[in-house]
Amino acid sequence: MSLGHATVAILAKELKTEFRSRELLGTTIVFVLIVLVLFSFTFDPTSSESRRFGPGLLWLAFLFAGSLMLQPSFLREQTNDTLAALRLAPIDPFSILAGKMAANFLFLLLVELILLPVFAVLYNIAIVPVLAPLVLVLALGTIGLATTGTVFSAVAAQARLRELLLPLLLLPVLAPVLIASTEATSGILRDPSDLSPVWLTFLAAFDIIFLTAAWLFGEYLLEE
């Protein structure tokens, strides 16, 4: 089975598991909503203020969501030791990681797309005219989040205190993504809107670097 086929098969399995229960998506959406509401208490979300702070808060909320949502990615496999079964399959071990990354990417992107209009309404930001560049930044940032998050979820699943450990490992590594996507987003929301090519390139570079690292070193995490 080629890497591509195996990845798609794993992705399909992940999607099927999640959409049977939808518990992960539902919980994460509510969590981000709570964070967005709580943020509104820390400063006055008037229009000019929210233009300055909004993008940062939004990305921070997504990062927190990711560090919680990616938790079960490998933990779920431990209950019935299904990871051992996956490893026995005659496929490239990286396809297990790649399939999970793709699934996590889709889950996170879905959560973000659902919450974007809510954010726009709550923080009084017009997003419709700038939707295309905004989705591009969301996608690039989320690739970085899903890539590192999936790998670290495999790391944390093998340690004690794993629920606490994943955010601890993930958030400092994701600091560059937070900066780049926040800067890119606030550029887009500025008047006149301007999409910074520097930050876009930076996000793409982050994604490529860590995808490559995951491809080179990720499979070691899957061995028994």
Binding site: T148, V151, F152, V155, Q158, A159, R160, L161, L165, L168, L169, P172, V173, A175, P176, I179, A180, E183, V198, F202, A205, F206, I209, F210, A213, F217, G218, Y220, L221, E223
Partner: protein
Amino acid sequence: MGSDSQSRTPSGAVISLSSVVVVFLLLAAGSYGALIKAPTEATMGLIQRIFYFHVSSAWTGFIAFFLVFIGSIAYLRTRSLKWDWLSVASAEVGVAFFTVVLVTGPIWAKPVWGIWWTWDARLTSSFLLWVLFVSYLLLRTLVDEPERRAVVAAVFGIFATMDIPLVYFSIWWFRTQHPQPVMGKGGSLDPTMWWVLILCWCATLGVMTLLIRVRYRLEGLRAEVDALRLEASRNAR
């Protein structure tokens, strides 16, 4: 069995007396240079002398973190636990040096900038690096089985070191207030100051090497104790 456990012992003395003497002399010379020989900086005054050990500790810390990267990759390739010992030793020593950087920085900043801390590019990225490798060390404490711990820590160590340049660039573009590097282009650093800085760097590098060797041996001895304990419990049964 006896000879078997002998062969696991990291061989030789930890550090030779002569290497300790050399590092001690380097430190003494560096301190003399930093505190007495180097000219007093015109605007900042005496407090600027902290710069020699501040900057050299940062450079040394970077080298220690780079050793974590090398040790991690080599462990995954060779599966020899010795590389893992190198990684953990370097990570701990690197964190120690960055602690020095993060403590001496504010001591210097308070009289010169008037504030202990500012969220400038270099300060923020050094702080973040420190946090990254503290997480690395925490992760190690949370995995018990040595081979598992080595693999998991190696992957995280590789990711963390690959993150260093990205952290640096992103924060750099984001904001900067740190005194622009006095070294390199512009070259306003007095030649004596240069020499003192290099001397201090050699001294901190020497300290780093000694500490890593001691810590490496300690990790090896720990592994041996664990193996012996396992053997003993097996024999008792």
